[in-house]
Subunit: 497 residues, 2 copies
């Protein structure tokens, strides 16, 4: 038996065990070729990859080192004894192999895969193998089974209300922070809307990043429940709520590989909403040339899929398509977006009308789910709650319940205005390029970094008119962003790029 030791290395979620090359009890060269080993302590076992150490200061010959996450998962204090053994491959790897060889999987097999995903028992290569094989083909039965399995494997929220609503947007549109307006409107009406959101991974801001400018968002499931009980709604980060841990693991592999199939997207979204206890879900599909969904036909196919799965898993789904041809609002990046959101809620004259109007449409559609409301009056009710200040009050209640930030950070102090190179009408704005530019400027890491748009599609500009302002917090980012904008400003004016 070896003595457990915490090795202060953060492996970003992966379990790593360390043993000395001259370990007196195990022969590391015998274990190293295995994909994984099993660390056995006190009846518990933890799958882990193995690294061999040639430095007694990191692990001595009678020690078994564990990376920070692995150590925490085992819940030990250090100094306890543990054994290691070559890990048998989890049984779900056999199912993954079947899938690779073209078989379809049944509900039980998918449950085993999802359970192993959620428990971090599969390696990155095994996860990639499952995702790529599933991207090759996935039957609707498989998709339904996968969705159900994913929704059951993590925490599950439940609410006393008969109608619990939620919304989700198929992303890609910069500045599209409607959730932060829709949630307070719906909550002001009294309909529960337990919204959890993601942080940005490849975009300049996720709803969680923008909300975090105003309030604490990394709430536990318990705190999320409390905030919704108090305020009818919340705007929290999904990361601590653990509603679909298998999805979180899959996303960590989907992103770098850009595997992005409709089936996996639908399973991912629906499983999270089911676990959150929603009964009525509104899906917003923006359509545009640089948006995720590029044509009306694609949007319709996706809608059918959402509706089909919704019917099978017992979740009422409504799908709306929206304009995804250009950014929504003006600000892109956490602080700038939070500014736009609050301007809409406060009814400020400078509030972006497109963000306001889209939010009202979505909130209206959600309010239609209230049986007490007369059919067709959802939009008018949403507008009433925004205009009479009830939505703003609801937002402030939510901010206070989650934990108000005492100080709002400033926008990045390094600024640069990108000027129109041609005169004429703005014909198009490339969302993809605007997102990358805001990333280069430092968003979302630097919350004050980003882009402030002055011109939108349809506006008429003269040569030299400012199109947008870049905000950055660090010289290096500022330089990158200016250079990137110089190579292409993302605007098409009068047909000329």
């Amino acid at each position: 038996m070896l003595k457990l030791k915490r090795v202060a290395i953060d492996t970003y979620g992966a379990n790593v065990a360390f043993i000395s090359r001259t370990c007196t009890i195990y022969r590391p060269e015998e274990y190293q070729p295995f994909n994984k080993i099993k660390v056995i302590h006190n009846g518990q076992s933890l799958l882990s990859s193995l690294m061999v150490v040639d430095d007694q200061a990191i692990v001595a010959d009678d020690e078994l080192g564990l990376s920070e996450q692995a150590f925490a998962r085992l819940g030990v204090a250090g100094g306890e004894t543990a054994a290691i053994a070559p890990a048998e491959q989890p049984r779900s790897v056999d199912h993954i192999r079947e899938k690779i060889h073209g078989h379809t999987l049944d509900a039980h097999q998918l449950e085993e895969i999802v359970a192993d995903l959620a428990a971090h028992r599969l390696s990155e290569m095994e996860i990639a193998a499952f995702l790529v094989a599933s991207a090759g083909f996935m039957t609707t039965d498989e998709m339904i089974s996968l969705t159900k399995a994913m929704s059951k494997v993590g925490n599950q929220l439940s609410w006393r209300a008969p109608v619990v609503v939620d919304k989700h947007c198929i992303g890609g549109i910069p500045g599209n922070r409607t959730s932060m307006i829709v949630v307070p409107i719906v909550a002001a009406h009294g309909l529960p809307i337990p919204k959890s959101s993601s942080r940005a991974i490849t975009s300049p801001a996720g709803t969680a990043d923008t909300m975090e400018v105003l309030a604490k968002v990394d709430l536990s499931m318990h705190d999320m429940q409390r905030v919704v009980d108090e305020c009818s709604g919340c705007l929290v980060w999904g990361g601590h709520v653990n509603l679909s841990p298998a999805d979180d693991v899959m996303i960590s592999v989907e992103r770098p590989l850009s595997i992005d199939t409709r089936e996996q997207m639908v399973a991912s979204i629906m499983s999270k909403k089911m676990a959150a206890g929603s009964t009525h879900l509104l899906i917003d599909i923006p359509i545009g040339p640089s948006s995720k969904v590029k044509s009306h036909g694609d949007a319709m196919r996706l809608r059918k899929l959402f509706e089909y799965v919704g019917r099978e898993v017992g979740l009422h789904v409504e799908v709306v398509t929206t304009d995804g041809s250009q950014p929504i609002g003006r600000g892109i990046g956490p602080v700038l977006e939070a500014r736009d959101v609050m301007a809409v809620l406060e009814g400020a004259p400078e509030a972006p009308t497109d963000l306001r109007e889209k939010s009202l449409q979505l909130a209206g559609a959600l309010l239609e789910n209230d049986p007490a409301l007369k059919g067709g009056s959802g939009y008018a009710r949403a507008r009433e709650l925004l205009e009479n200040g009830e939505a703003l009050k609801a937002m402030n209640r939510i901010i206070d319940a989650q934990g108000r930030k005492t100080e709002i950070p400033c926008t990045g102090e390094l600024t640069f205005d990108v000027l129109a190179k041609a005169a004429g009408k703005v014909m198009a704005i490339d969302c993809f390029r605007i997102n990358r530019l805001a990333r280069f400027a430092g968003a979302p890491m630097d919350v004050g970094a980003g882009i402030d748009l002055f011109k939108k599609v349809g506006d008429v500009v003269e040569i030299g008119d400012p199109l947008y302002r870049i905000h950055a917090c660090f010289e290096s980012d500022f330089g990158f962003a200016k250079k990137f904008a110089d190579e292409g400003d993302a605007y098409t004016i009068d047909g000329k790029v």
Copy 2:
């Protein structure tokens, strides 16, 4: 810039960089979500994964730690300065994505993938994605391009001789050490046969493991060339020769996932033989119920594929099918197999006749490629060289040239005889189970561990007759092996298992 430091952690081939969480120059949280970072030193760059360290003794705030392999690859002494940057994904990941989405790849795209594989620029998940997508479908054009690209990316051997032969066996049969008899026979005739072999990964011994009982096998390419120049043949481990580095990388992912398509196997074998400068290749396909190839039909399809690829890449391929229904020879495990091989070469009366006969058949087929030899006389010539002791002399020359082991290890001293539970004729021996049993006994790590078979298919036994002897070197392995044999002895006697 950070100061480079060697962190004495062996990551089994992967590049890992370590920076302090409180690093003063970079913000590790900004880099950690990326799949890989780029370590830039002196115009060189190295792709690496990143771990964040909370222990100044491992890396200080102004240091950049590198795992042993990464440090060696960068070829530094420590203390030099280096920068890091988020790594752009290698361009070949785009090609892998295309493959995932069902496109076929052209020669140039496959060359880029192979180059990135060989240079360790792809992550395990990216490699898995490529392999799984390719397992879904692969055109013959893709397979030819892949084979050619793989053969060109590593070292390449060349020989002055017009005919250079080689053999390869599609594995799975315990004790099948024909190469160690075929090579000396062919070399004794004077035909060059530059044989490189693998070590066991999941089997109880590879040819390299068994040869290592007698001689040094981890030769450099330079030494391999010298041995073949001196002796006409060699029996070295392929690991240091680096003939198909992309293949080595792919295998590290194929094994744990058990991805084992015909196309990938053919590309793997052919690319190595092309790089070794062979002109004539003999492929041995054992057919049997617990062998890799289970039916004559499968063997024929595989033969066609080998022949087709051989024609396209300019390598003469001959395929023979052999009996794969039971182990070959008696010993299983490095020392026991080496004993059988030497017995055959020495013409000892106890030499296993099946191993001798199969080796003569294969050597004869290879000798037929010598234009100086009369057609059909290969077998007789092989037998002559074995019986007149020339083959044994050639083997001793090869052993001396590679570096003779001064001491032959003993067989494992812990022994246990497994006895027949029924009387009758041995109908079948389960190769798969025999392999696992020998592994449990400690082979190939403990070279003296393994199994010594006393009875083969067709032998008649009484209840209590010893079927085979288990040899182990350690009590724990011995216990595992006895228990495993107790659960099933792998013998079918008179129709009863």
